[in-house]
Point group: C2
Chain length 320, copies 2
């Protein structure tokens, strides 16, 4: 018995054939290059056909992770980084090449936490949250053994968390938490400080301010730069408050941190935990573990395969 797990990313497609115990039998990667719309779907369906062929038709279920929102009722997908995928009928396209095989399509964030629950740092958990901090911030949430989707499949939009009055106009496009503590946000906060602090002459002054990234800020932080310390200290407070809120709301066993920022911010977990301990429900926060992603870039592919496996185990019901 074999399961297909597919992870569509912003720049490449990863696909694999899994055995039920999580062993990968075949693994492919394809660059998306300049594909858009139907071309991306063709890449996916071609990959599926090829994997089915390799098993002589012995595939039991297919899971797909998409970089955006998977609308469960319609089987359509919104993916902001793929042109013409505002409401793309991906389920229909897959059903056409694999008409008899059950398919589940989920958001990347939901797949990340599912992968970590299957084979990563949240193994066996019924209550766990994957927090992806990259250019933006989002969460994949499993509570009482099931993925949280919400009424319109847009639950987990934690970048919008309100954490500091007063409201600032710059929150309008991304939310307060994301503005202050995403990769983009860290760069923006550092740029604003550089513009307003004429006396500062540290190493970030040597950078082209418009090109400044969060990685520059982390490098300067590691070198003891005062402006970078100010920016990262503020981000630690925001991460601590936001993760504390998720702990108070969900009482999870594990919080798993991933994305480009965790990454370099993994070493800050003890500082973040210290901040969380101040704010969160005191019993829940003492019981939760804060851990880096174990599967890293493979989390989505593992998660997609696990959700496909669950799909057949639970006879047509889609949940972790």
């Amino acid at each position: 018995m074999a399961i297909i797990g597919i992870d569509l990313g912003g720049t490449k497609l990863a696909s694999a054939l899994f055995e039920n115990d999580g062993k990968i039998v075949l693994h492919n990667e394809d660059a998306l290059e300049n594909r858009n719309g139907d071309q991306v779907a063709i890449l996916i369906t071609h990959s599926i056909k090829s994997l089915i062929h390799s098993t002589n038709g012995n595939v039991q279920a297919i899971g797909v992770s998409v970089p955006g929102i998977a609308y469960r009722k319609s089987g359509t997908v919104w993916a902001p980084n793929i042109r013409n995928w505002e409401s793309y009928p991906l389920l229909k396209e897959i059903n056409q090449v694999a008409p008899d095989i059950p398919v589940t399509i989920e958001s990347d964030r939901s797949c990340y936490i599912s992968g970590e629950i299957w084979k990563g740092n949240a193994a066996g958990c019924e209550n766990a949250i994957f927090i992806a901090v990259g250019t933006g911030i989002g969460a994949g949430i499993v509570a009482d053994g099931r993925i949280i989707h919400g009424a319109n499949d847009i639950a987990g939009a934690i970048g919008w968390m309100a954490l500091q009055k007063p409201y600032e106009p710059q929150y309008v496009d991304c939310g307060c938490f994301e503005y202050n503590a995403s990769g983009n946000g860290i760069a923006k906060v550092a740029k604003a400080l550089l513009k307003n602090n004429k006396e500062y002459s540290g190493r970030l002054r040597l950078k082209d301010i418009e090109q400044l990234t969060s990685h520059d800020v982390f490098d300067a932080f590691d070198a003891g730069d005062e402006l970078a310390i100010k920016v990262i200290t503020s981000a630690i407070e925001f991460w601590g408050m936001a993760f504390a809120n998720l702990v108070s709301i969900f009482n999870p066993e594990k919080i798993i941190l991933g994305g480009g920022v965790f990454g370099p911010a993994i070493k800050l977990i003890p500082d973040i935990k210290k901040e969380m301990l101040k704010w969160a429900q005191p019993i829940s926060v003492r019981e939760v573990d804060i851990l880096p992603s174990q599967l890293g870039p493979s989390a989505g592919m593992y998660g997609a395969a696990y959700l496909a496996l669950r799909l057949i185990k639970e006879k047509g019901k889609i949940h972790v």
Copy 2:
């Protein structure tokens, strides 16, 4: 076929016999008076025996709402306002008087939202949150059709939400949100302003400061008192931020407001919604309705009965 719904409150026990469609056939209330520990359990089991007797043994399931935490694995209950109910074996006591009838015990907050989903302002919703703002603040959350319990049954502790840096020592016993926007919190914030604002000579100055309640603050607010306006305006900001966070995280269809403060704060819903619109995920916040509890003091009893009904419908699985 009949269902028993029981709502244990801080001062009284309400119990009723329901038909499957939600019609109440029999309804009793008993004051707890000074009962504690076993005496409260005896009141519950006596009430159950009496209702079973009245149907000639034709009761299909029993649901119980408790003012605290229901630990699902052990069948025990923690209820801070009932002496000797730190870890009370309530399920065992009920099983002894009704050995063949399935029983579900849930926290009052989870029962409130279940009641509103069955017969109230969240009728038919799969994603809805009951926010109880009284002396404290807590939430009963149903996501994708199921109650959120968390790893140790203490999910929904939203009073601990972090909403404003820096951390203040007075948050240690109750959390930032509860300190600033619960009934107790509103009274505390007003008292602190009264002590620090010697020039104020409005109507709250005439009150015994130690006896001041949130109801006094709401009365003064309605009369246009400047200090009360300051306190309630701040509470509106905190409610708006916290409810916005729940909307971004859960993408619910309805938020139902109850507890002693909503109550007088119901008329502030338009102001709270305005605040939410600034902070929350923009699609989710436009789609959510913010409504008062329809069932009021009966929400727990209806919710307990509904969860009992679900228990038999789903053959032994406990969920909404």
